[in-house]
Each structure stands twice: as C-alpha cells, then as structure tokens.
Amino acid sequence: MSSGLYTQLESRKKLTIKDIAVLAILAALLFVVQVGLGFLPNIELVSLLIIVYTLVWGRQTLYIIYVFAVLEGLFYGFGIWWINYLYVWTILYLVVSILIKNKSLIMWAIISGSFGLSFGLLCAIPYTVAGGLGAGIAWWAAGIPYDIVHGIGNFSVALLLFRPVYYILDKLKGQSGNT
C-alpha cells in the first residue's frame, strides 16, 4: 500500500488524545515558524510545512490549518487578511492531496513556488468582494513584486528543506518514507 493511500485511510480514523496533542504541537510549530520568520521579506516555511503535513498526516492537516489560523488571528487580530487564512492554506492542502503520488523533489518545489506566486491573487478575493474587481486587481498588482519573491523563496526553501523536513516528520509519524 502506498504511503499516500495509507495516510488517506488513516485520516478517517477517530482522533485519539495522542493525535490531538501531536496535531496541536504541529499547529504551534507552524505558528512559531511563521512569527519567527516574519521579519524576512516573504520568505516562509509555512507552505513547505503544510505540504509535508499533508503528505504525512493527510486529512488531519485540516485541523492543523484551522488551529493555526485561529492562533494567527489571536496574535495579529482578526482583520480582513484573516479571511484569507481560512482558505489559502486549504487550497494548498487540496493541491497536495490531488498530487499526493508525486515523488519528485523538484515538482514539490515547483508546487510550493507556484503557490507563492499565486498567493497575492488568492488573497485578493476578499478585497475584490469588498471593493469590486478594480480594487481587487489594484490590491493584487501592488503586491506582485512580493509574490515573485514569495514564489522564488518557496521554490528555494522546498528544494533545500523538503527532504530533511519530510524525513523528520515522517519519523515522528512512525511510518516509512513517501518520497
């Protein structure tokens, strides 16, 4: 049985206290990494971690994502930006779930990089709903240079750290490697 399929089946099991504790720690790790690297311009580890979480923890990653979103809201305040956090990471989770059979490191780097490039466009949705198409395009266009940095940063980070992070988290989950 492939690790991906195993993960999907495992995800349907009822959560145990131990599962909840591990998922809470993983959500806290996302939060710490996000805040800790917040000073670096659009260089982040959250995308990589969500990709690896999805590969290793499957559907349970959704719990991690939403706990992470709540932590972010509590820390930074629940502004319009927070609405983005309710769906952007879920989109990444869905993309990874669809491509879960992929075993190529470079492809994961491309996926992470492409997510970085499209981050501004995805985040422009609430601004488009609130202010109209023109406002949404203006908001997205203003951030394009940062999206480019985000995309290249994500690509590089995944290329460098995907294997070690996957190795550590897969060990933590106690299952054989997926890539």
Partner: protein, 136 residues
C-alpha cells in the same frame, strides 16, 4: 527517473519561469505610473483625538514621500520594512501597533493606499488622508 517524468519536471520548471516573467510584465503595466509636472495636492492628518490638520501643497514631486518631505510643518518618521517605509510617527504623534494595535493608515481620494509612500504616485488634485487608526 523516467523520460516521461523528466519531461514533466522540465515542463513544470518552464511554466514556473513563464509565470514569473508574466507577473513581472503585468506589474510593469498595472502599477500606477507617476505623473510629471506641477500638481496641487492636499494632505489631511487626522490625529488620535480626531483633530485634523490640512496641508495644501504645490509640487512637482511624483511620489507621496517626496510630497511629504516638501510639506512645511509636516513631519514623519518610520522604519523601512518589506513593504517600504512603515510610518510610525506623524507630527511627533506615535502610533504603536505593539501597544494598542495603532497605525497610521494612508488614503488616496477616499481609497486605502495599496503602495508604500515611496511608491505611491501623486497626480494633480489628489487628496491624501493620513489617519491614526486603532486596529481590531
């Protein structure tokens, strides 16, 4: 790794680079262009106590930061961040996000400014508002 997988990776890399180039070109055309020549610009500073101070300026400046530098009686300071200068103080009034989630919000003609003050173009007749704002 099979030839088919190699082709997929090369195609993926190619598309990734093409998207970056397309975004860079898109930005060049979508970002507001600076306007040359003389302009009349109004800047209103709204303090924490809601009092307003209005400045009317004639300027050749192309970006808001240059206009603010030229405006007599208007002072500001801040820190350079990833999105340009984050203005912390206007007319010696400090907005501290750490203390009470306060910040200086910039508006152009009633709309929130999407660009930092060094990248916000200025046109004749523009009305800027710099408002002390307390976040949620």
């Amino acid at each position: 790794m099979t030839k088919k997988q190699n082709k997929k990776i090369i195609a993926g890399l190619f598309i990734f680079v093409i998207i970056i180039v397309a975004l860079a070109i898109g930005y060049k055309f979508l970002k507001p262009q600076p306007v040359k020549g003389e302009k009349a610009v109004e800047i209103t500073v709204v303090s924490a106590d809601q009092s307003e101070k209005i400045y009317n300026i004639q300027t050749d400046a192309e970006y808001l930061q240059q206009v603010m530098d030229e405006t007599e009686g208007l002072t500001y300071s801040g820190t350079e961040g990833e999105f340009g200068m984050m203005v912390d103080a206007v007319n010696d009034e400090i907005a501290s996000y750490e203390e009470n989630s306060a910040y200086w919000a910039f508006y152009i003609n009633g709309e929130y400014c999407n660009y930092s003050i060094s990248e916000q173009p200025v046109a004749d007749g523009d009305e800027f508002r710099i408002v002390y704002t307390v976040g949620e």
